[in-house]
């Protein structure tokens, strides 16, 4: 397949080299809707993700209102959810579960997997490796449209009579398998499974494309060790996705079969709704194994692209080479490999053999080593730099902070003995929101600000970007830092309210505090949305290489043309991190500049 793609590419490229001047006008539909151009697809992913993220954030605000002021009447809840789910402005408990579930699913899959990889792998892989486009433009187009359909199905649950899926984003059976168990396991769950199946198809089509493009379509001179860390991160991410998403697909298929065909893969010995079910011999633990075999790599599918973007942005704006380029590549690969053998740490309390638990403790804590190396390397890159504070740089530094503070609490959770007391309570919620939610969002936003000139040929407003960063960063810690203490007080997650427990009565003000910051975080995003859509059309026009960066995307002209480079493909002569190299005229040396005589590539001098 890869050879074929390569041939196709050659033909494609040849076509562009010779007839670049007079390419035929394209219709609106083929140019902007069913486009096969990586730049358009990237923008499609981004805009869809921004819309989905906005919706998911609104959902979180609705349930945060309930958590801070349980039973209080809010006109907005009635306005948005109607009398059925928000009677008198009080959130319905079933709807609360649904909001929690759909918020999680959208954020994890639609925004931080599809949105993040879809936007930046698509935009940057062909640009930064020096390719005309993705290996298969058609598959790439399909990848977006499956993603789009999947997003629609995910939201469709809100329009079904029994509401969306509401078993938590992990949708463990039997809860999700039995329509008798809750309303959310009826139509909503079917829609969730359809959505997820479509999403997996999208992710695989995208992932295969990313891998093939990186491996086969690198331009002359772009050896693997001259690739920017963004590309390394996208490559490993795509490999993780291709290896793990099929497993989720099988989990989903078996669940569909249990729900619709009366099989018992996950069901056994169940009495529900006044009836003993026929199914025996299955185990819900099987689902957990299959789910987390994807679920844990998924965490890194989310994080690695964000870290890749950060590596690039920190280096460009510190005007320094990324510290320890090869160690960074090694860390990415180590994290990628280890992420496949740690899934059991989500299951310490399922009754698994304690010895098996010990093995997962060991492998999980091993991941802390490459993660620590990455964090230290980021910090050292700042050391003795000449830091230019673009909004993107602020977000990148923010990511380093949240990556550290969220990662550290992971060491508690990975320790099976300590996990006993904090498993599934707010300590976990705080941990994964900081380390993967906030970090990845900060990384994604950093990418949006930094590559906006490549996406839309314009700049986002800098001052609004500054306000957006500080507002987001401060409120993110305001929301998630105090949450650790709720966990240490024993508050379980996914509780509609804590009022049934006198022992949680003295925690009310913490929840109010958290919700206030969550609302602030929401308001700050309005500034971003304005800046984003406004700048798309009216932002300041960008010059070709506004950040003085070395990578190939900045050698393309400031217009969107098929084939990216009007003439021949650029030839690469050096690694991408020659910033502030002694003896050079400028503080950056693009990858296309040949090495001088006696000059050492790759950081030596």
């Amino acid at each position: 397949m890869s050879a074929e793609a390569h041939l196709h590419h050659e033909a494609h490229a040849g076509h562009h080299d010779s007839h670049d001047e007079h390419h035929h006008e394209e219709s609106f539909v083929s140019k902007y809707i069913f486009s096969m151009d990586h730049k358009v697809i990237s923008r499609q992913f981004l805009i869809t993700a921004v819309i989905m993220a906005t919706l998911a954030m609104m959902m979180s605000l609705l349930f945060r209102l309930q958590l801070a002021w349980p039973g209080e009447h809010f006109a907005i809840i009635n306005f948005l959810l109607g009398d059925k789910w928000g009677k008198d402005g009080v959130l319905d408990p079933g709807m609360y579960m649904a909001l929690v579930t759909i918020h999680g699913t959208i954020m994890v899959f639609m925004v931080l997997t599809g949105g993040l990889s879809g936007t930046f792998s698509n935009l940057l892989i062909p640009y930064q490796v020096g390719a005309r486009d993705m290996a298969s433009g058609f598959m790439n187009m399909l990848s977006y449209w499956f993603f789009f359909l999947s997003s629609i199905f995910m939201l469709a649950g809100f329009f079904s009579e029994t509401g969306p899926a509401s078993g938590g984003w992990t949708v463990y059976p039997p809860l999700s398998a039995l329509p008798q168990a809750m309303d959310g396991s009826k139509m909503g769950m079917t829609l969730w499974l359809i959505s997820m199946s479509l999403f997996i198809v999208s992710s695989l089509l995208g992932g295969l494309n990313y891998i093939v493009t990186v491996l086969n379509l690198r331009t002359k001179g772009m050896s693997m060790t001259r690739m920017p860390l963004t590309i390394w991160a996208f490559l490993v991410t795509a490999i993780l996705g291709v290896l793990s998403f099929p497993v989720l697909f099988s989990a989903a298929l078996l669940l569909i079969s249990d729900r619709s065909l009366g099989t018992s893969f996950y069901l056994s010995d169940i009495y529900i709704g006044g009836q003993a079910l026929e199914q025996t011999g299955g185990s819900p633990i099987l689902y957990e194994h299959l789910f987390w075999f994807l679920g844990h790599p998924e965490v890194y599918i989310i994080l690695l692209p964000a870290l890749g973007l950060t590596s690039e942005i920190i280096s460009v704006n510190a005007r320094k080479p990324i510290f320890g380029y090869r160690a960074m590549i090694g860390s990415i690969m180590a994290i990628g490999f280890l992420s496949f053998i740690v899934w059991g740490h989500h299951m310490f309390l399922t009754g698994m053999n304690p010895f098996l638990g010990s093995v997962f403790v060991f492998t999980t804590l091993l991941i802390a080593i490459p993660s620590a190396v990455k964090a230290f390397n980021y910090i050292t890159t700042l050391w003795k730099g000449n830091i230019r504070y673009t909004p993107a740089m602020l977000f990148a530094i923010g990511l380093v902070s949240t990556f550290i503070s969220g990662g550290l609490t992971g060491i508690i959770l990975a320790d099976s003995a300590l996990d006993i007391n904090v498993h599934d309570n707010y300590f976990v919620v705080a941990h994964f929101h900081i380390v993967m939610g906030v970090s990845a969002i900060l990384g994604m936003l950093a990418g949006v600000y930094h590559w906006f000139p490549k996406l839309f040929l314009r700049h986002m407003n800098k001052k609004l970007g500054y306000i957006h960063f500080w507002g987001t960063f401060i409120s993110a810690y305001g929301v998630f830092f105090p949450m650790h203490f709720l966990g240490l007080a024993g508050v379980p997650r996914r509780y509609y309210s804590n009022t049934a427990f006198p022992m949680f009565d003295n925690l009310v003000d913490i929840n109010v505090f958290i919700t206030c910051f969550a609302i602030l975080a929401g308001l700050v995003q309005i500034i971003f949305l304005f800046n984003f859509f406004y700048s798309m059309f009216r932002g300041e026009k960008s010059e070709q290489n506004p950040w003085g960066a070395n990578t190939l995307e900045w050698t393309t002209p400031m217009k969107h043309t098929h084939g990216n480079w009007p003439g021949a493909l650029p030839v690469v002569h050096r690694w991408p991190y020659d910033y502030s190299k002694p003896g050079k005229e400028h503080d950056f040396v693009p990858q296309t500049v040949p090495l001088e005589e006696g000059e050492i590539d790759g950081g030596g001098h």
């Binding site: 169940i270 320094k320 060991f362 902070s401 550290i404 550290l408 599934d424 996914r494």
Partner: protein
């Protein structure tokens, strides 16, 4: 009326923002400056905010520790929990040290090395010695964390002693039932196909081991200083038996039996005194999403002295006795 006013206000606000934007656009066009270019004063300002953030952040962390720290769970009421709390604090001390150190470096560098026109960054691509140091040190620290952690884990998950009191915790949407193994300390057989209104646990009435079993709801008692072994079952979906005061948790999975055990070391009465809260109770709650009333699935746990425990147990009738009494049937059916 109010609605109309709100709509009008929104429309006006949109117009106002539109005009503001227009004014901003025109004024920046007049000045001819490039907004996106980061100036030295931008850099200086941001670097100072970075440093300020470092201090504010740590003030906030300390505020959290002082105000929210005391509201976390009281001292552990189980034997293994005391060791776990120590381990937690030990790990946290290490993590907090790393957290502080890395954040100081991160934000201090962000402050110190802000960009100035004419300055040039130092070209440092890597340093093998440094990288070796920060690979090896975390590895050693993690090894210590793993060793301490697994030592505790092995102790906690080792099989319970033979004379531990056996109690079944039976979960269903949305309540808990506890079944004591009785004098023979063996639970009678049960089967989900035997479940009826009168026999909610599906007990096998032909099994003699079950005749001395004692079934209780709403509240269960355990004696001070004796090991208790819980055998967990669920009849419908996955639940999780979480007893935060005892640092104990285990999932209840339909189709299989899971187990955990601990030894309580503080009675309810003692804990009430310690916390100066006469209404305090230990609690068992569900900690795995299990349906719409997940947030209210609880059972009170009472830790008694041995004598009180025996008295309480005597006051409860066995499964056999209950099955024989017709009025009890009516109660159970309810």
């Amino acid at each position: 009326m109010i609605k109309i006013l709100i709509y009008v206000a929104v429309v006006l606000a949109v117009f106002a923002i539109g005009y503001l934007v227009r004014v901003y656009e025109l004024s920046s066009a007049l000045k001819g400056k490039k907004d996106h270019e980061v100036t030295d004063s931008d850099n200086r300002l941001m670097s100072r905010i970075m440093l300020t953030f470092l201090f504010v952040f740590f003030a906030f962390v300390i505020y959290n520790l002082e105000n929210y720290g005391p509201r976390t769970l009281p001292e552990s009421a189980s034997e293994h929990g005391v060791a776990l709390d120590w381990l937690f604090n030990f790990n946290m001390a290490i993590l907090f040290f790393v957290f502080t150190l890395t954040h100081i470096f991160l934000f201090y560098f962000a402050f110190k090395y802000y960009g100035r026109t004419g300055n040039k960054a130092t070209y440092i691509a890597h340093n093998n010695k440094l990288e070796m140091i920060w690979t090896v040190i975390p590895a050693v620290v993690l090894a210590i964390i793993i060793i301490f952690g697994l030592k505790n884990w092995n102790k906690i998950t080792a099989p319970a002693s033979k004379d531990a009191i056996v109690i079944q915790l039976y979960a269903k949407q949305f309540d808990w039932t506890a079944r004591y193994a009785g004098k023979d300390n063996e639970l009678g057989e049960s089967n989900y196909k035997l479940i009826t209104g009168e026999n909610p646990l599906g007990m096998d009435t032909t099994d003699v081991k079950g005749s001395d079993d004692i079934i209780v709801r709403n509240e269960f008692h355990i004696p001070l200083g004796k090991e208790v072994e819980f055998k967990m079952n669920s009849r419908d979906v996955i639940h999780s038996a979480y007893m935060p005061h005892f640092r104990a948790q285990m999932n209840c999975v339909p189709g299989m039996t899971t187990m955990m055990h601990f030894t309580p070391i503080i009675t309810t009465a003692q804990m009430r005194e310690k916390l100066n809260n006469p209404k305090f109770d230990y609690i068992l709650l569900c900690n795995k999403i299990c349906g719409v009333s997940h947030y209210n699935m609880q059972m009170t746990i009472v830790v008694d002295t041995e004598a009180d425990y025996q008295n309480w147990l005597k006051s409860k009738s066995t499964f056999k006795k209950k099955a024989a009494a017709p009025e009890a049937k009516a109660v159970a059916a309810k």
